[in-house]
Symmetry: C2
DNA sequence: CCGTATCCGACACGATACTG
DNA sequence: CAGTATCGTGTCGGATACGG
């Protein structure tokens, strides 16, 4: 591939700001998966931000055991959640938001707050869009 | 089920607490997909929050034409982006953040700000986690 | 230039079954 | 109770080609 970076074949808009799929964006992508946020929000409401596996399972409507395990592993791996294992019979495991996990709650609330204020408008926009017929090519 | 109060350091979770995969969460899931946030952030930086299709394509590293189209359609459908079509030859299309789209920028910055301050810590947590051998069952 | 159509592989996710 | 293991499927997203 010949490098033509030095040449400006045509005058084009501002010197291209380029966004890479950087680490922060990857984080956001992970948090945006199907269950992570719901689990975090549930822990946020819990006393001491701490719940048993089965409590989370009951609290997050529709999550499978497999996906809950994977979600919690991911959160633990990223240091957002602490895993406390008690080798009793039957075993008991509790999950707790770490300090970093708790520090995420405010930004998360700001965002979910915005969504709460705007999702009806989005809903309406969708309906308007879908009703349109004069879609331009 | 006998109610035992002893050795229960904390109270049980109220059974009423249940999180559904509600509309706000769905929104967050959409925004958390592979490209949406990057496109929004690029528009946020642009003069008048407005760019041509090809400018966005160049600005978002690695995005395919197909995915950019789909991403922009989704943003337009949800009312976050406005599409301006000019039937010239060759045609020109510009995309602009709507008022609602702009109103998202602050919440987004709060969130990306938090990520910016914490993603190294997450990285380290991951490395620590992966290096561990004493994983509890 | 700005899309749409089609094919296809990868993987996220669910269902189920089985252990310590 | 709190996980693993395994398998099947739907969807996401990349590559490519074509069209207005």
């Amino acid at each position: 591939m010949p490098s033509t970076v030095q040449k400006k074949p045509r005058q084009q808009t501002p010197p291209s700001v380029q966004l890479l799929s950087c680490a922060p964006h990857v984080v956001l992508t992970h948090l945006g998966d199907k269950w992570t946020i719901l689990v975090v929000l549930l822990l946020a409401r819990a006393p001491e931000n701490r719940l048993r596996f089965s409590e989370i399972k009951r609290g997050v409507q529709g999550i499978s055991q497999r996906m809950l395990t994977l979600t919690l592993r991911m959160l633990e791996r990223n240091g957002l959640v602490l895993r406390h294992y008690y080798s009793e019979v039957p075993p008991r495991v509790e999950y707790e938001l770490s300090a970093m996990g708790k520090s995420m709650l405010y930004p998360l609330e700001v965002f979910t707050g915005w969504i709460g204020e705007n999702w009806q408008a989005m809903q309406q926009a969708r309906e308007r869009y879908d009703a349109r017929e004069d879609r331009t090519p």
